[in-house]
Structure formats: structure tokens, C-alpha cells
Amino acid sequence: MKARVTVTLRPGILDPQGKAIEGALKSLGVGGIASVRQGKVFDIEIDGADKARAEAALKEAAEKLLANTVIENYRIEVTG
């Protein structure tokens, strides 16, 4: 099974990377960019075909390692 875990910064937490990218896009002359925030995606292959089990494993992975839940939120999608 394939899944994607998307990890994004919680609202209000400073995103220095996003800020720098925003500045760079502006100075490259890319029009209309108002703000950028950067996050991560993890594309994960999981053994087995039990969706509930996969979701549980992904949740564990996100909580234990993929996301720093002090400053980040995460979302899990099993894609097929």
C-alpha cells in the first residue's frame, strides 16, 4: 500500500525557510506571491493490505518521528 504523510508547521510558528523562499521568489520577479510556508511530505510504502492497520502504523510513525508535534501538524492519506 502507498501512503503520504504531510507535515506542516503549526499556524503562528515562525517559518524562516518559507520567509526566505518568499523573498527569493519576489526578487526573481515571480508575480503575485503573497506568502510561502514550507512543509514536508513522506511517501511511504507499507506491507500488507489492511488499511486500518496501515493507518495506525502511519499515525505511530508520524507521532514518533516524522512530525515534531511541538511545532508541527501532520496529515495521513492512504493513497492506494
Partner: protein
Amino acid sequence: MKSAVLVFPGINRERDMARTLRLVSGGEPAMVWHAETALPAGTDLVVIPGGFSYGDYLRCGAIAARAPIMDAVRAHAARGGLVLAVCNGFQIACEAGLLPGVLMRNAALKFICRDIFLKVERSDTPFTRGYNAGQVIKVPTAHGEGNYTADADTIARLEGEGRVAFRYTAPDGRLDPQWNVNGSSNAIAGILNERGNVLGLMPHPENHVEASIGSTDGRGLFAGLTQHFDKAA
């Protein structure tokens, strides 16, 4: 030798580089701000120094590679002018298309600052003429993303065309995965472009040019460049 050291926001080894150029070549390098669109007239050598341009945000070197000054650097290289790109400079040069491949996270996923050993693969380039081919030098590394990677064709071409300038080895010059500090493909530490006038390398020869501060093994690179231009002049 007239050298120009590029200064990007967040770059932080530009002073180290300028000081070494001054010390070894005797000349004062020009410090060139990233927003400039031209290099100082008569520039022989462009140096893209190490550091954390734009905080290494997005991808190391990505934002700096798109700075206004880089068009002038590309034009300089296209004319056959020399470009030395060290550490973050190497990353910038790859992002700017001056050199092939990318520098990924170190295999150990950590920043590593350590003296390492480099085998100088050839001595017939302006950058390495201060060394003997096969010579092993000790210089410091300090980076988190120096794991050189490229597709198999590119690696094969680099090897086939003798464009690997420096390799991570054991102190005796032996290839040994234990001494490949960041996990680079084929232990590649430094490469040349096709024309041989752009060198990118991860370690910091500029930090090893005085016996009292570690070693003088880095001097050969700058002394060789100085000679190259003195001869030409």
C-alpha cells in the same frame, strides 16, 4: 592574480577565503555583493565561498544560485575564466548549472566538522598544480550536505574524463568507505566542469594554510592558482 569573492546573504566563510587569498597570493581580493550584475574588470578568479547562503533554506545553494551576480559568473566561466567553488560554493555552483550533480544530506544525517584526507587525483589543472598527482592532503570539512550524487551517466563521464579532482581517502590514500566522510558517490570530494575551469569541492583548504592553525596542506591550491596567473601575466 585578481580574485573576486562573492558575498551572498548568509555566506560566512568569505572572510576566511579572503584572508587566505591575501596570505598566499599577496593580493587583496575584491568582495562582490550578490546583487551586483558585473564582476570587477580584469577578474581572473571568481571564488564562491562557503557558508550558509540564505540559511541553506529550500536546498543548499538554491537561492544564491539565482542571484543577479550569477549571470556574470556564468559568462566569466563561459569565457574560460576560473571559478573556485568551496562547500556552500560547490552547492551553489551545482544549483547554478556550472557543475553537474547535487550535494545531498551527509549519509550520517549530521553536520560533520573534522579533518579529513583528500587524494589529489591530478596535478595538471590550474587548481591542483600546487600538488603532486596522488598526493594526500589533510584539510577540514564542515558541512551537513556534502554527499555528492549524480546519475550513473554523469558519474561515469566524470570518471572517464578525469574530472574528479579530489577524493576522500584514508591517510595513506587508500579508498575506504570509513573515510568517506559524507557518503559521496565514488568518494568524490571535488569535481571539475567539462572545460576544466570550474572546480567545486566540499572541504575547506582555505582553513589549512598555516602550520600553527592545523596544517599547511590547503596552501597548494592557492599557491598553484597564484602561479598559474603569474605565469600567464
